[in-house]
Every structure is written in C-alpha cells, then in structure tokens.
Symmetry: C2
Subunit: 398 residues, 2 copies
Amino acid sequence: MKVIVQKYGGKSVETIKKMQNIADNIIQKKEEGYNVVVVVSAMGKTTNQLIEMAKTISEHPCKRELDMLMATGEQVSSSLLTMILKEKGYDAVSLTGFQAGIKTKGVHTKNRIVKIDIDNVKKHLEKNKIVVVTGFQGINELGEITTLGRGGSDTTAVALAAKLQCTCEIYTNVEGIYGVDPRFFPNTKKLDYISYEEMMEMASLGSNVMETRAVEIGHKYNIPIYVASSCKNTKGTYIKEFDKNMEQKSITGLSVNDNVLMVTINNVPYSPKNISNIFSKLANQEVNIDMISQTPPNKGHVNISFTTAKENTTIVDKVMKKLKKEICNMEVQNNTDLTKISVVGMGMRNEPGVASKVFKLFAENNINFKQVTTSEISISYTIYASDKQKAINVLCCI
Amino acid sequence: MKVIVQKYGGKSVETIKKMQNIADNIIQKKEEGYNVVVVVSAMGKTTNQLIEMAKTISEHPCKRELDMLMATGEQVSSSLLTMILKEKGYDAVSLTGFQAGIKTKGVHTKNRIVKIDIDNVKKHLEKNKIVVVTGFQGINELGEITTLGRGGSDTTAVALAAKLQCTCEIYTNVEGIYGVDPRFFPNTKKLDYISYEEMMEMASLGSNVMETRAVEIGHKYNIPIYVASSCKNTKGTYIKEFDKNMEQKSITGLSVNDNVLMVTINNVPYSPKNISNIFSKLANQEVNIDMISQTPPNKGHVNISFTTAKENTTIVDKVMKKLKKEICNMEVQNNTDLTKISVVGMGMRNEPGVASKVFKLFAENNINFKQVTTSEISISYTIYASDKQKAINVLCCI
C-alpha cells in the first residue's frame, strides 16, 4: 500500500474556504495513487480561544479538563474537512485521537505518544478512504482524552508516518526551512534538504517551524519529512538523514530567539550546595533552564547567570525571593532585553574553527555577548537585542 | 449509594456566568449528601451554529461527520462546568458519551441508547467526585461518535438515572409542566404531578418541554423525573407512575402544535394499491406522517389528507410530483395555515364523553376542524390557525 501522511496547521484550516483549497491538495495526492492520511490542527486561533475561556474560570484550570476542552478544536476541523472531501466526491472519514489508536502517557496538556494501534486507520485506508485524523491529541491508559502540547499535531503526523512507514508532509504557513528566519534576513536561501540533527538543533534553539519531538521521531524511524507551504505551489524542504550529497556548509542555519529572560545572581557564597539548591528549586517549579554561566570564585563568591523563557518571570521571581532568605547578601537582576542567536551546521563536526571565526567577527563588529554555549553542531550566544540585526547580517555571510 | 442525576439544557449553560449559578445548585445537592451525576447540553445555540457551518459545505452534510462535529458542543460545556466545580472546591470529572459507557445504535444524528456500561461513572462517584457527562451523545458498535437527535440530553439523563436507579432532575428554562403552554393561556396552572402516559402523549403531540423517548425510558424503568427551572427556585413538576392520589381530571393538558403541513390529495382512484403506494413512497423518504384521513369512495375516487411537519415540504412536493406521473388526474393541495390542538388526560380512559363534549363546544363556538384522531388518552384536532386562541380558551374551561 502506497501511503502518505499530510499535516495541515491551524492557519491552513482557518476557514471553510481555506479547507476547500487544501482539500484539492489532498485530492491531488489521492489521484496520484496514494492512500492519504491527513492530520489537522484546530481552526485558526481556536485552541487559544478555548484556553482563554478556561482562564476566565480559573487562573490554573484543571489540566485534565483543559485537555477535554482543547481536544474539541481538532474534532471540529477534522469533521468539517471530511465533509468537504465527501462533498467533492471522495470517500473520507474523520478519526479522533482515540479512534486513530493514539495512546499517550504523561501529565495532561503535555502528553507524549507511547503507542499507535494503527488497525483502524489501516482498515479505512484499505476501503479506499481518505483518513482525517485530529492532531495534537490521544488517549491515556485511563481512557482520558489527552493533548500533546505545543506543536503536537506535527508529532501526531510524524508518529503516524513512522507507524505506516511512509513520508510525512507538513503543510504550513512558511514555504520551507530557511537558513535564517526571512523576517530577519530577507536574502536567506530556502534549503532543499536539512538533516534531522540540524533541524532538531534549530527547533530546540527556538526556530518556530517544527517541534523538536516531531523531528526526533522522524529521525528515530528514518521518516522523510517534507515541509512546504499549504497555499503556494512552491518546492519545500526535506528533513532527512544526513548524507554526503547534501551540501556541506559549516553553517546550515541560524536560529534567532527573542524569548529570553536572563537572570543574574551576584554574591553567591561559593559552595556546590548553594548552586545545586538554586537549580533544584527552579526545577521543582518546572522552570526549564537554557544556558547557564558562572564566574570563577572571587573572595569566596560567584556570580551565576541563567536564561529561561520570558513566561517564567513570575515563577522565577518567587523562587528568587525564597532563595534570598536562605542565601544572605545575594542580589538578583533580571534582563529581558536580550536575544539568543545560534549557528547550526553538521559541518562543524569536522571544521573546528567556526567558534573562533564567530568570536572574531563579533569583536570586529563590536558585538558583545553575555553568554556562550556550544553543542557538537551548534554555538549559541546571548547578545543584546539591539545588536541582533547586526549579528544576523554578519553571521549570514560566513 | 444515594445518587441523583441532574440535567441542564443549553440555555442553562449558555455562558460561564450561568454555569457558575448552576454549579451552586449542583453543590447544594452534593452537600445534601447525594452523589451527583450531571448531564449537560451544549452551550446556548452551539449545536445550531455547528450545523449551520456544516450546511455551508453541503446541503446534506455526511451524517457521521455531523455527529463528530456536533458532539464537540457538549464536550466544551462539560469540561468548563467541571473546571467551575473544581474551582469552587468540589472534586469533579467530565466524561464524554463514550467515556460514560453510553452505547448506541441506529442512523447517525438519530441514534438510540442500547446499553450503558456504568462502571466508569460509578468508579468516579465512589471517589466522591461529581460526574459531568456530555448529553446527547454516545458511541456505536464501530467505535464511532453518535448523537441522539433532538432532546437527546434528556434521554442521556433519564437513561443514566435508570441505570443508577435514582431520580432524574431536568433543569430547563420553564418552571415545570403546565396544562397548556402559558404563552397561549396565561391562566394555566403548573402541575405538581403528571403521569408518564400523559406526558408522553403531550410530548409526542408537540409540547416542547421534554422528548417522548426520555419519558418512555422513565416509564419503563419507573424513574421519577422532576422538571423544574434552572434559575428560579420554584417547585417543579414530577413525572411519575399514575396513582389514584393524583388529581383525576378528564383533561390534564392541552398540546398545541403550529408546525403542521396538511397535504390533501384529490381524485385518487380508489384501490388499496394506490394508497399504500403514496404512503410507502413517503416512508422511503423518511417523511413522518402524523394524522391521516380519507373520504369514502365517490365514483371510484377518494380524497386523502395527511399531516406532517412543515420542514418536510420540499421532500413531500418531490414525492407528489413523482406520484402525479403514476396516478393520472391526481390533484395536490398544501395547507400550512393550520394548528393541531390535542387534549390529553388519563381520565378519558374512564370518562367516555370527552370527545362529544369537545365536538359540542367546537360547534357552539363555530370552530371547524379539518381532521380528528383519537388515542386512548387523547383527542387531536387539526383546525385553522385563526381559530387557535378561541379553541384554547374553550378547551381550557372543560
């Protein structure tokens, strides 16, 4: 059976009119002889609107019920799209997460897929139907409706493709993967190919095209992921296994992330206990820490800086207030006027000079950085937001 | 376990504010020591809005998909109400039709409940939770989401009460059951009690308070149903087994229905084949026929009149067009300027003179009727809409 999975995001199914356009795209694949599984997000801003409704009830609405509420969004879009396909003369059927056999585990609103019972999907495909699956959701071992968190529909799509051993097409509001976000650097080139590793690095570093989890699943099961525009008929980007025929540049992409809160703690008496105390208290509040830097001890004291997403400001402030009672003289400073800029490239594995090249360029162009971290295939810098454009222009020319 | 089922209709859960009010009503029962199962409809006009959306796609949208779409309405209201109960400090859990074990059969959009696996509901009740169940929906043997048709949430509630062997309270936008719709006869009295049989007759004759099916289930399992206002704290009406202590009036209620299309077919050659042909063609198109009358054969021809709901006009016209090709000289007339008025009362079983009393009153007051039908506990008349108020005033004084 020749199968393909296609995923359409919220913007692509924003209105009935837009759904009618993507239906033609789906039908084209069907006419090419494919059995098509479609994964849809909720229409436009539906999910956010549902969350806002819940927030009028409670600052922290029950997450099990939030899942129950949010899951309706994709149920609406999947049934409407199926009606459209049937109206156009193609047999189709919508399936919710539980009907598509998507079993999940974890905390509500942030579940992960642990298993897919694909029989029901296959049964419908064998009857020559287009199967429209609600993205972003599944069912847990208690029979409760769950959701997969941000970008969850991508995860649904790639996981289904992995189970069906086929290509996964992600149709979205961008035309593919770019070296840099075109809003920052209009001359950037759309990539024909990018490796899973590079894409994961880009995704986790803050590029908004796809969630890391989805790319991870693609990588694990070696499923080619094709990212393209849902409305323009232009060539997109394949995310796939790195091979030597792909262009070997030291830098494939640049990831820019403005959602940075940097917290600097001065005057911490130097002891491993103190430092672990700070980060375990943050972890207990589920604050994800990104970059960490520490000065060498000076007169028995160190300064520690870490970055996290801006939405954690309130909770971080609370933790710091508590810590101040335990660590005398400790001083805390928040800085939100920063950007994290990261260069990513498989080539870095073989070409060691990239970091020094960047340092030199930054020095020549008078760009200060507050923090730097490196991975095998990326280097990230926290810089002042005011230097962002200059840094992008400089790095794009490496 | 002391259990009660409460059902709240669309108007009662129209806004978060209204849901907060009914939450207090639910909590009061909980505080009285009851385990409470709540059944909710979709918020306000949600179901109609969803149907309208589907109608922009297709004149006759796929009914399986319509069920999938409509079922989201109650999922939204049940999760929001549950959040409200939890915010007020009471443990609660929402369950969709399939999670509440409601198994259904039949055609999509008009399923009927065939079985309830009550274990999951009971499990949550035993944990002292208020269980909020989505009304109007279930799951069929194929694992597809189904809906129960008009008034389906009442059916869900009474069926759950039957399974739990407890009273079912139906909270709605009326204060109880009246002898006549108060809009037509403001002096009408709210009834303290009405028997299942009378209520079924009233419901099937077009009073809009409750669906016949729900009352039927109550009757079958002898579940007391209490109908009352969701916003006013006034005494409602019990629907229960007829007993001799209930007030024995010959007429308990009057049912008025303006949704009447009367079709008169003149000049039909008298043969059983012709007549069965007419009604089987209508049945094939799922046109529900209400009253039928036929003149005695005259020169080998008869005139036939039947009534049905006005929304069947288009489909009836199509059937008649076909019939004209088969039955030459047949003439068809539609009349929509009619009202069906029915008197209902258990007392009629013992008191034979009611029909003759009505005929006399109609004659004295110059009210013509086009058709009359009788059941054991009711008599129905099709009259001109212009005579409606006069007929109501006359009949209310019997």
